[in-house]
Amino acid sequence: MPLYAERPPLPSEDKRWRIVNGTMRKHGYSRNALIETLHTVQSSFGFLDEPAIKFVAQSLRVPLSQAYGVVTFYHFFSLKPPGRHTCTICTGTACYIKGSDKLVAETEKLLHVKPGQTTPDGEVSFTTARCVGACGRAPVTLLDGELSGQMEPAELKAQLERWTMQ
């Protein structure tokens, strides 16, 4: 058996894999680059699936168990594909004091999903965040990545309805 296994081929023709490979090359395929590479995968593909984790683990010569351990340890990484739209509600302290629990309840009622889930039609992913650092504008939501502050339940409801009606 060779001391070092060869690096695996790109999982598909998808050009995004070259970006992922680029990140690994930048770090000299060092094991330390695991988290950086996973960030690149997530930002390119939106989530981390099994082939992606396997590819990264093999390329960096990290045991698959360790790569999976890292993926599941950090909240930022997602194993499931996101919906067409994402609704993130900040549940940091300042937002909590300003009533973000009402926003969470409103969203749950409207979408019939819990935080961390996507609606069955794949339209909206609903997540909560641990403080996005815009506490001066609490309560804060990130709708499709765009930050809006001082959110009212009615305003949020209107936006979510716009998404689900389409």
């Binding site: 890292v70 950090y74 302290t93």
Partner: protein, 551 residues
């Protein structure tokens, strides 16, 4: 680069500034950007181009008062406008050189009274993506001074003399830390900047990184020179995309100007910095967990000693300081340690940036000298509690801190005073609560946070936080007995005493501090099955269904 060349760059940048009679600074921090300050800036630029006045519209970082965003600061009149919209651009530009627009007055009240800006001195005044604007305001003078006129030992001496203590929460004397790392022998030493600002309710580090990233880079370079490191990392939360972007630009510019790389300032000293992204784990704010995360592993802490100063990143001596700590370094070297130690109290020197949020009139960032009272900050600067409600408590120190009641409002802020009152400085979040907040449910909120953020390595934290959360939920539901309360107190002691890292050791603090000052609320839930604030499930005024706080 030497002092003369630096002066030339500064003069050129100042001349560039002097070409314009007026400057209109538009806040482009996360807070104001969410209110479309980019469109405001575009509208202002268009108007400025048409009005014929020599006016420069500048993108800047945070101006502090996030509640009144988008904020605009006029130079040289120093007039500030709040809630500026695209439609106001014409009026704002027309007012240049004349009377300020009264309609847009953000009604600052006493917001800037008593504040003293050291860390935030450039925030709102410079474009964070232009290094020359930083140099024009005295930037990199300290690095050049340190490299050309001082030896590493005298740099450390100045930092020790300043009395600067770690701004990340622990309050460990910075000079002592530097001295320890400097004395350890190692082939390769590292400097790490901890920008994993995980405390919910705190956004000082984000703001510094977004508004004045060069200041942090300069502080790190000085630290590297003092301890003999050649490689640095800035660990930033991935939740702060704008900070990461500005930092990336800042690093490129610093390299191009020769403040990073090999042979900085014509010396043999070389130093470079890489960015590492966090991935949403609160425990990575703990230094050993952060190191594990930079190494590409799960962010679990390890027992100390050995401290990172002796064996840190890849087993090498490593210096870890918080963003705000590094942001204080350049002014200290520039003005001397004594200048810094003239501010603050006997054992807590200098200024501290606080993020003032919650039920308060004027939310935003404030920087005040240590020793100011909570009352001055909350009622003087912050304008007190809105809507005629009554102040109930102020929470400092995030999930590791505690809630202080009205009796403690006259406490003057220092590391030691806050700890003896049962809270802590933390990284600087200050969340004000009024009488609509239930302290038991606030304690439960923090416990839920610690429970989900526990890394699971040590049992007291992993299992203890779950048990404490269940007990607090039981109290909130009005189903608890006095035995449960006793068990909760006992668990607080055990978890605090036996956990591996700071997360577990301080997780009981919110419970302990609320038990200390708001025991009557706990008793009302237990004895009368009622929530005095009408928040909890047991309270008949609220919906009967149990309502959980989700992660």
């Amino acid at each position: 680069m030497n002092a003369e060349e630096l002066q030339q760059i500064a003069t050129a940048a100042q001349e560039e500034r002097a070409k314009f009679d007026f400057a209109v600074n538009v806040c482009m921090g996360t807070g104001c950007l969410s209110q479309h300050s980019d469109k405001v800036k575009a509208a202002l630029e268009k108007e400025a181009g048409e009005c014929g006045k020599k006016c420069h519209v500048r993108r800047t970082g945070c101006m502090g008062l996030c509640a009144a965003g988008p904020m605009v600061l006029m130079e040289p009149s120093e007039a500030r406008y709040g809630h500026v919209h695209e439609g106001d651009a014409k009026e704002v530009i027309a007012s240049l050189g004349g009377e300020p627009v009264a309609r847009l007055d953000p009604r600052l009240g006493g917001y800037f009274d008593g504040q003293r800006h050291v860390v935030l001195e450039n925030s709102g005044h410079i474009d964070p993506e232009k290094i020359d604007e930083y140099i024009a305001r005295g930037g990199y003078e300290a690095l050049v001074k340190a490299l050309t006129d001082m030896n590493p030992a005298s740099v450390i001496e100045q930092i020790s003399k300043s009395g600067l203590r770690g701004r990340g929460g622990g309050g460990y004397p910075t000079g002592l830390k530097w001295d320890t790392v400097a004395k350890v022998k190692g082939a390769q030493k590292y400097v790490i900047c901890n920008g994993d600002e995980g405390d919910p309710g705190a956004f000082m580090d984000r703001s510094v990184l977004e508004s004045d990233p060069q200041r942090v880079i300069e502080g790190m370079a000085i630290a590297a020179y003092a301890i003999g490191a050649t490689k640095g990392y800035i660990y930033v939360r991935a939740e702060y995309p704008l900070a990461v972007q500005r930092l990336t630009v800042a690093l490129q510019q610093a390299r191009r100007r020769g403040f990073l790389g090999n042979g900085i300032c014509e010396t043999t000293f070389g130093f470079d910095i890489d960015i590492r992204l966090g991935a949403g784990a609160f425990v990575c704010g703990e230094e050993t967990a952060l190191i594990a995360s930079i190494e590409g592993k799960r962010g679990t802490p390890r027992p100390r000693p050995p401290y990172p100063a002796v064996s840190g990143l890849w087993g090498e001596p490593t210096l870890i300081n918080n963003v705000e700590t590094f942001a204080n370094v350049a002014p200290i070297i520039r003005n001397g340690g004594e200048w810094f130690s003239s501010m603050g109290t006997a054992r807590s020197k200098g200024t501290k940036v606080f993020a003032l949020t919650g039920k308060i009139q004027r939310t935003g960032l404030v920087e005040v000298p240590m020793g100011m009272t909570l009352r001055q900050i909350i009622f003087g600067i912050g304008g007190g509690v809105p809507d005629g409600r009554k102040f109930k408590a102020v929470q400092t120190g995030g999930p590791s801190g505690g809630c202080l009641p009205e009796e403690h409002l006259d406490l003057s802020i220092s590391y030691d005073a806050l700890i003896s009152a049962g809270s802590m400085m933390g990284s600087g979040g200050m969340i004000v609560m009024d009488d609509t907040s239930c302290m038991v449910s606030v304690a439960r909120f923090f416990m839920e946070f610690c429970m989900t953020e526990s890394c699971g390595k040590c049992v007291p934290c992993r299992a203890g936080t779950v048990q404490m959360y269940e007990l607090l939920s039981k109290i909130c539901a009005g189903e608890a007995t006095h035995r449960d309360l006793d068990r909760l107190t006992e668990l607080c002691e055990v978890v605090g005493a036996t956990s591996l890292c700071g997360l577990g050791q301080t997780a009981p603090n919110p419970v302990l501090s609320t038990l200390r000052y708001f025991k009557h609320e706990y008793l009302a839930h237990i004895d009368e099955k009622r929530c005095p604030a009408g928040v909890c499930e047991c309270s008949p005024v609220e919906k009967p269904q149990p309502q959980e706080v989700h992660a």
